[in-house]
């Protein structure tokens, strides 16, 4: 039971004033601007956009600044803001095959048509702290960009298309069935694959990563290879009813991962590879890979696999706990005043103790 608590207004005002001061930090250090966060902490911005489920780098950067770098708090701010926006429509599904890739790698085909493009990656770095970045006002080193040989933006086909030609991998049923939207109607279980993907793409990166890792360690093993991971810009098109046609309204950066998973076949299906899919706002490849592993793990029922009882195969467990705003809202509320609840528990414990002590005392004298 919730009972309203009153009072503490002055204390709360003072706490918020102090919070603002703490956010600013040492006045001798120049203040961070929102464009600086947007440009220089881009991966944090991407994470806030993905989990806040709103693509707007300026707003995500602002939220990070306001939240003092607490990314879940920043996601919370974005989620709250998005509820104030009227929904102007739903886009035409983006065509990731037409992505202008800045990164595109395959762990399964070294000679992937279109080539392997590393892009701006942390892979193959030595994970040694770069003390040059520590130097105040270090002169920017404008290393001349390495020259490639591109004559046109790199648009390359999906790698799984090549496996498809030989029937070695399951085909993706094409449809234009309207997708369920968990921001409009409460999630119902069992969820369709489309609904699961929406829940996973806005889910907490740490949670989705942990669950995906559990499948690799054997809790619902799916033997995943990264068939393809690609990052780049895609155009977003919106059908404008009053115009009667669709127009491009902008471009967004996406990370897409497709895993190729072992499938030994069933009574009706010959052995072939199956697929897991991940698609996330921004450059968020850890999340995209995790998502595709989880997508595949949750497909055990439709693929006729055994339920090993692993958490990663339990749709309710995964989908109901992936959202960090739901999680933190429920978790953190227990620190707020619960005086009346606790008072009743206290009464109960005292009564039980009285009864137990009285009983014990009675036995002694028996």
């Amino acid at each position: 039971m919730y009972v309203a608590v009153k009072g503490g207004e002055r204390a709360i005002d003072a706490a918020h004033a102090w919070l603002a001061e703490e956010r600013r930090g040492d006045q001798a250090v120049p203040e961070l601007s929102v464009p600086q966060i947007r440009e220089q902490l881009k991966l944090a911005v991407n994470r806030v956009m993905a989990e806040g489920s709103l693509y707007d780098p300026d707003l995500a950067a602002l939220a990070i600044k306001q939240a003092r770098g607490d990314l879940i708090e920043a996601v919370f701010l974005i989620r709250a803001y998005r509820t104030t926006l009227p929904r102007l429509g739903g886009s035409v599904p983006v065509d990731t095959g037409a992505m202008a890739c800045i990164r595109r790698i395959s762990a399964t085909f070294k000679d992937a048509p279109g080539g392997q493009v590393l892009g701006p990656t942390f892979d193959y770095t030595h994970r040694l702290l770069d003390f040059a970045l520590l130097a105040e006002a270090a002169p920017a080193t404008p290393s001349a960009p390495a020259e490639g040989s591109a004559t046109a933006p790199a648009v390359v086909p999906h790698i799984t298309e090549f496996l498809n030609r030989d029937g070695l991998i399951e085909t993706q049923p094409v449809s234009d069935a309207p997708a369920p939207d968990l921001t409009r109607t409460p999630m119902e279980l069992p969820a369709s694959r489309a609904l699961r993907l929406q829940a996973l793409t806005r889910g907490d990166e740490g949670f989705v990563l942990g669950m995906a890792y559990s499948t690799q360690r054997g809790y619902g093993r799916t033997h995943a290879f990264v068939g393809e991971l690609r990052i780049g810009m895609v155009a977003v098109e919106l059908a404008i009813p009053e115009l009667g046609f669709a127009v491009e309204i902008g471009e967004i950066e996406l990370s897409e991962c497709e895993t190729v998973n072992q499938f030994t076949g069933s009574k009706t299906e010959p052995a072939q590879f199956t697929r897991g899919y991940g698609l996330v706002f921004g450059q968020s490849e850890r999340k995209a890979i995790s998502m595709s592993l989880m997508d595949r793990a949750l497909r055990w029922r439709e693929l006729g696999e055994d339920d090993s009882g692993a958490p990663a195969q339990n749709e309710e467990f995964v989908l109901m706990h992936a959202d960090n705003i739901q999680a933190t809202g429920f978790l953190e509320h227990i620190k707020l005043p619960h005086y009346v609840d606790f008072q009743s528990e206290l009464e109960l414990v005292r009564r039980l103790r009285r009864a137990a002590l009285a009983g014990a005392g009675g036995q002694d004298h028996a």
Binding site: P86, R87, L88, G89, G90, R184, P241, E242, L243, G244
Partner: protein, 189 residues
């Protein structure tokens, strides 16, 4: 789409929509109460009240059924430009708009499910006038008894019998609005 379809919407969307929503809420919470709406100039045969209500309640995610009385190109274009609502058949509609006879029979519309009684259709019924009450109504939101101008009694009594499922109704005439939720009992005056 003609320029006429592009005008006649709200000029100050958030304020006007908030005021209209408040008025519609008031009408639905106090069945029988007649409120005034303003802010839109829709094409005929849409009344001002029905036009304002559509702008306020309908968007791209709320499928709308236009009954034959109101299914004209001008009305379609106006609603499309200002709300983006998809036009659908009665069974798929969240909202339906028309005069009484063209909305019948009512069993074509969704009355919701036991799990989600809110997934029922809301009907916007255009009337000639709301001035003269023809039915006695009672129930939640009504102190003892109230009157309301209804096109008939039997259909609304049957709808009430479905409670907690059933349809909800708005009645519009010129710039006036009244409402009848499924929770209201209806008797002949």
């Amino acid at each position: 789409m003609t320029p006429a379809a592009l005008s006649g919407g709200f000029s100050d969307t958030s304020v006007q929509a908030a005021r209209a929503f408040r008025a519609a809420l008031d009408a639905m919470a106090r069945p029988g109460k007649v409120v005034a709406l303003a802010g839109a100039t829709p094409p005929a045969p849409l009344s001002v009240a029905a036009g304002v209500l559509v702008l306020t309640l309908v968007d791209t995610t709320t499928p709308l059924y236009l009954a034959p009385s109101h299914d004209t190109k001008a009305v379609r274009d106006w609603i499309t430009f200002h709300t983006g609502a998809p036009f659908v058949e009665p069974a798929a509609a969240s909202f339906a708009l028309g005069n009484w006879s063209s909305l019948l029979p009512l069993d074509r519309f969704s009355i919701g499910s036991a799990e989600y009684p809110d997934r029922a259709a809301t009907l916007i019924v255009e009337l000639a006038s709301l001035a003269a009450p023809t039915a006695r109504i009672s129930g939640p939101g009504i102190a003892v008894q109230a009157g309301l101008a209804l096109p008939e009694v039997a259909a609304f009594a049957e709808n009430h019998a479905l409670y907690p499922l059933g349809l909800d109704f708005f009645f519009t005439a010129d710039d006036r609005l009244a409402a009848l939720p499924r929770s209201t009992r209806v008797e002949a005056a």
